[in-house]
């Protein structure tokens, strides 16, 4: 049986002359946690809207479960929250989840466990209209999990939440990810994605810039952060080194970007042998944010 949950082939959405999503192709497989990254207006929500049956693609196709299920049948097997939580305001948390079970043709057995998971069991009989945004968002997560989904799609799940709410939702996503649920997390908050995701898809202006493992987002091999009393000697050494590319100064440290793999032990030994006395030395990997920025700004 195939591992592919969703496949997009040249999916495009145009609003008049504006191309929101441009020939996007990608594949989501079971068991991974995907981050859909991109600045506001990059086409993340439009892409999700198309595969979730609420936005009509202009061209291109998408297939759920290798085309074995129609979109709406596939959607019964997944869970999704896009933008703000949408529930019937006059119904209680319990009633709203029961209705979703009727739509998804699934059992209501999991409702209690999920409401407890999202800390809403005590408010199960309260009307949705009385909930705070954080509670609404947590109920939305419970709703998205009610059918034990094969894939959980979360679009900006921490939008509009206070720091405590953000912390709660992140914790919840981590818990769900640890349980083995495949997740697609769309966000423009990079640290959110970095903490949770194994794979990442980068979009900008509707175009895919990258698809693959988070680690492989940038092809850099990291950089060394170095400080010394003798800058001239250091710069001369770095300039002549075959594994060092760009050299820049950030605050009091020199940043020597690696062009190929070089271990800390070997490099520190080479510096020592060159007679350079270091006051600071550490190897670093660029953050997802800096990798994302360099990727989207250079293209």
């Amino acid at each position: 049986m195939s591992n592919t949950l969703l496949q997009l082939n040249d999916l495009t959405k145009k609003y008049g002359s504006l191309t929101a999503v441009n020939k996007l192709s990608l594949t989501l497989s079971k068991g991974k946690v995907y981050g859909l990254l991109g600045p506001n207006g990059s086409g993340k929500s439009t892409t999700l809207g198309m595969v979730l049956n609420v936005i009509n693609p202009t061209s291109g196709t998408f297939q759920w479960y290798d085309g074995n299920l129609t979109t709406h049948e596939a959607l019964k097997k997944i869970g999704a929250i896009i933008e703000r939580p949408n529930f019937y305001p006059y119904m209680s948390a319990l009633q709203n989840l029961t209705l979703i079970c009727k739509i998804k043709k699934c059992s209501t057995d999991a409702i209690e466990e999920l409401l407890r998971l999202v800390n809403l069991w005590d408010r199960k009989n309260s009307k949705f209209s009385t909930f705070s945004l954080g509670m609404k968002q947590r109920l939305a997560i419970a709703a998205a999990l009610v059918n034990k989904p094969d894939l959980l799609i979360l679009d900006e799940p921490t939008n509009g939440l206070d720091p405590e709410g953000i912390h709660q939702i992140r914790k919840l996503i981590l818990t769900i990810a640890e349980l083995g649920t495949t997740i697609l997390l769309a966000s423009h908050l990079l640290d959110e994605v970095e903490k949770v995701c194994t794979d990442v898809i980068v979009l900008k202006n509707g175009v895919k810039y990258y698809e693959g493992a988070v680690d492989g987002l940038s092809q850099t091999h990291g950089y060394f952060e170095i400080a010394t009393e003798n800058n001239k000697q250091l710069l001369s050494f770095l300039g002549a080194h075959s594994a060092i590319g760009e050299i820049s100064k950030e605050n009091q440290y020199y940043k020597a970007t690696l062009t190929k793999d070089l271990s800390t032990a070997i490099f520190s030994k080479e510096i020592q042998e060159a007679g350079i006395l270091l006051t600071h030395f550490s190897k670093k990997q660029p953050s997802l944010e800096s990798q994302f920025l360099s990727l989207t700004q250079t293209k």
């Binding site: 979730l52 049956n53 609420v54 009509n56 006059y90 209705l99 009727k102 043709k105």
Partner: protein, 279 residues
């Protein structure tokens, strides 16, 4: 059945919907109040129920016409039912949760069908009871005459409610949809006036009435014509005044076909709107 259950679940948990639905069905029973109208002025005694309005088979015509007037009340429920789905963005969420657009529409159409059937059944029961009490003729053969008014009633309601459904999906806002419904009535009236004035000059072979019968609200209105001038008391009065009513009060199956076609178009139109629009 599952789709109907989904819609009824939504309606059942909305207090406003419950009040409106029970209000509507309670109002249907208000027809029985007419039977209690009694005026006594000295020697003159007038009891409405004894004027023949509850005689079989006339009662089928009278009651279906009168009770159909209450359909506007139920139109509010239909329009609010769709308007709220747009306002709360629950239509979008329903689709994300796995309802197809066709299924979403079917939940609404099935609910309309269910209410039309319940409403028709109530009219049948109430008419049977009132006729049983007040009718001068209680032979089965007479009772079973003119039952096609019940069919016309059901088709009229279904046509009107599907029109409301279409308008509310088209306009999305409950108040505007109801406003447009009222405006449409005026538009049909104006269109008829213009046709009456000019159509015979342009196309002498076709009368304004011939075209007007195809207009949706007029077609629904034509299903059950006003029953008052059919009453023998009114006809006797007209005779004395030298007037004569030569109206055909029977249910026209041609009119039923027109309304059914309109209903199909409204449902199809609603589906196309849902299908083509981004949410």
């Amino acid at each position: 059945m599952r789709l109907l259950q989904i819609e009824l679940y939504k309606l059942w948990h909305s207090r406003i919907s419950k009040v409106l639905i029970f209000g509507y069905f309670s109002l249907i029973f208000s027809i029985a109040i007419l039977s209690t109208i009694k005026i006594e002025l000295g020697p003159i005694s007038f009891h409405l129920a004894e004027q023949g309005i509850f005689n079989f088979p006339y009662i089928w015509h009278f009651n279906t016409f009168m009770i159909a007037l209450l359909k506007v009340f139920f139109a509010i429920i239909i329009v609010a039912m769709i308007g709220n789905e747009y306002a709360n963005k629950t239509l979008k969420q329903n689709l994300i949760d796995g309802l197809s657009k066709a299924e979403f529409l079917r939940t609404k159409v099935y609910a309309i069908l269910a209410f039309v059937m319940v409403s028709t059944l109530l009219v049948f029961i109430i008419s049977l009871i009132l006729g049983g009490i007040y009718s001068d003729y209680n032979e089965l053969q007479i009772i079973s005459m003119d039952l096609e008014y019940l069919l016309a009633y059901a088709v009229k309601l279904f046509g009107f409610f599907t029109f409301c459904l279409f308008l509310s999906i088209l306009i999305k806002r409950s108040a505007f949809a109801l406003g447009f419904l009222a405006l449409w009535q005026v538009i049909e009236g104006i269109a008829f006036g213009l046709m009456k004035w000019k159509l015979s000059d342009l196309i002498p072979q076709i009368s304004a009435e011939q075209v007007f019968q195809f207009f949706p609200l007029n077609a629904m209105g034509n299903l059950i014509k006003e029953p008052f001038t059919r009453l023998s008391a009114i006809q006797n009065l007209a005779d004395q005044m030298g007037e004569a009513f030569t109206k055909d009060y029977s249910v026209s199956f041609f009119n039923i076909a027109i309304v059914i076609i309109w209903s199909a178009l409204f449902i199809r139109g609603s589906y196309l709107l849902l299908k083509r629009r981004d949410l």
